[in-house]
Point group: C2
Chain length 286, copies 2
Amino acid sequence: MNSFATTKPQSSATAGVNECECAKPFATTMADLLDAMGAEQGDRFAALQLPIAVRRLRAGENLAHQGATAEALYFVRAGTFKVFHTDVDGYEQVLAFATRGEVLGFDALCMESHPTAIAALESSSVFVVLRSDLMMLSVKMPAFSMALQRAGSLSLARSRELADLMAAVASEVRLARFLIHISQRMAAARLSPRRFHLSMGRREIASLLGVANETVSRSFSALALAGLLHVADRDVEILDMEGLKAYARSTRRRADESLVAPTGGMFTRRSTPGRRSTAGLRAMVS
Amino acid sequence: MNSFATTKPQSSATAGVNECECAKPFATTMADLLDAMGAEQGDRFAALQLPIAVRRLRAGENLAHQGATAEALYFVRAGTFKVFHTDVDGYEQVLAFATRGEVLGFDALCMESHPTAIAALESSSVFVVLRSDLMMLSVKMPAFSMALQRAGSLSLARSRELADLMAAVASEVRLARFLIHISQRMAAARLSPRRFHLSMGRREIASLLGVANETVSRSFSALALAGLLHVADRDVEILDMEGLKAYARSTRRRADESLVAPTGGMFTRRSTPGRRSTAGLRAMVS
DNA sequence: CGATCAGTTGAAGGGTCTCAACGCGAGTGG
DNA sequence: CCACTCGCGTTGAGACCCTTCAACTGATCG
C-alpha cells in the first residue's frame, strides 16, 4: 500500500499512451512501446498477433535462476526487480535494481545460460519475449530492434553508474549516491523525488554498495542525524537535497592524473594532491 | 614489443576466418564478422560497400570524450581500451577494460552524449559504425543486428563481472579475481593464460578495483610473496593457478540468506554465519 | 505467545587510506 | 653526453573507517 511502485498509475493501455507525451520526445522505452501497442487481453497481445506474453510475479518470486538456460528476454512493466549473483560460498551479490522500462536477461544473450538470477522485490509484471522470436521481431519491427538496443544500452549505462556508487570510499557517500539515484529514477517515473519507499531491504542495499548491512544502518542514521534525511524503516524522505548531493560528491583522493593532452599525447599530470574531508558528516552535525 | 595484444596473429582477413573454427561454434563476435567480410582497403570496406571505417589509435589517444555527442559505435579490432568516468573533482574512475570483440560506446545509444570516455592503452584499432547508419545496417543485415545485440550483451555481462571484482572485501582478493579475469580473456584470445603483459598501469587497476594504487602494489607483492605470482612491473606470470583461484573465492561474510525457495516463496535463511579467513595470504606464506 | 527475522546500536580489532620517502626509467635540454 | 625532471612503482608508518561479533527492539506469523 505504501509502496510507490505498486500504485503506479498505468492501469489501462490507453491511459498509458497519453502519459508518454512529454517524457522523452525522441525515445520510447520498450515497456511504453509494448504497452501502447497491445491492448493486452488474456496475457496475450492479440491485436498485432505478437508472440509477447505478460507474466506477473509476487514478491520474492524468481524470474530467472542463476545458471538456468536463457530462453527469454524480459521487459519490466511494473514493479521492482533485483539482479543478483550467488557465490559458491552462498554470498549473495546484488548487481542491480530494475524498474519499469528496463530489460532483464539481456546479459544472457551472449551465452546459453543466465549468468545472473532475477527476483521480484514486490508484486511485478514483465513482458516476455522468447529468444527464438527475437530475430523475427527484429526484422519485422525496426522499432522493436531499436527499442531493444536502447534498453540494452540503458542497462549498461546503469551498470556503470553502479561502479560510480561503489567507487566512493566512505560508506555514507555510497549511500548518499544510491539515494540520489533512486530519487532521480523516481522523478523520471513522475513520482515524488523527495519521499519514497524502498522496496529492497538493508541487506540488499548493503550488497549493492559493497559494505556490511550494519554499515548501511549506521550510514542511514548518520545521514539522518546530519539533517539530510528522515528515515523510518524503508520510508525515506530527503530533507536537504542540495546538501545530500553536495555530500555525495565527495570522492576518493584525487588521482594525480586528471587531464589528457588535447591531441595524441600521453597523459599529463597535475601535482595538487587534494585531500578529502575525512571528517565527513561528523563535521556537519557538530 | 613485449605486449601481447600488439602481436596478436590476426593479420589477414582470410586467416582470420580460419581461426574461428573451434572457438565458439554458435557465436561470432562483431570483430570477427567484420574482419571476415571486409578485405579492408584504404580504411574502407569496399567489398560490400558497407559504411564501416577502420580507425587506428596510438597509446593514450582518446576515442571518445566524456560528454561529447555520441555519433558512432565502435568495435575493438585490436589493442586495449579503457572506459572511464572523470568526476567533477578530477578523480578518474575506470569502469572497464575492453579488448578485441567488444563494443565501445554502446552505453551512449540510449542518450545523446557519451556518459563515459574511452582511451586507447596501446596502439589499437576499431571499426567505426555511425549511428545514422545503424538502422539501415540492422535492417539489411540481420547478422549485424544479432552481432550487435550479442556485443552489447557481452558488455553488460562484463560490467557485472566487474561488480563481482569490487564485491570482495580484501584488496588481495580483488586483485586475484582481476588477474583471473585477465587470464581467462587471454585464453579466449588464444594466448598464454599464465604469462601476460598488463597494458594498464597500477593506478588504473586501482581505480577499477576501487582501492588506492599503493594498495594494489602491496597486493601484488603479497600475492608474489605467497608464491602465487611472479611480478615484474607490468609483466605477470601466474605460478599457481589453482591456488590463485582458490584464494579468489574468498568472499565477504556470508549473508544469512542463501537459497531461495524453489517455488514462489519468500527467502529461506540458514543460520551458519560462516567466517572469512581474515588471516588471508599471511597464513599461506608463514 | 514463542519463534524468527529485519533493523539498530555498541565495542573491539584489523585492513586500508593517506602521507612520505626512495629507486628507477624515460624523455629533455643543457 | 649527461644532469635534470617527471612520473611510475614500491615500501614504510600512523590514523581512521569498516568489519565482525554481540545484544536488543519491534514486527510478522504460525
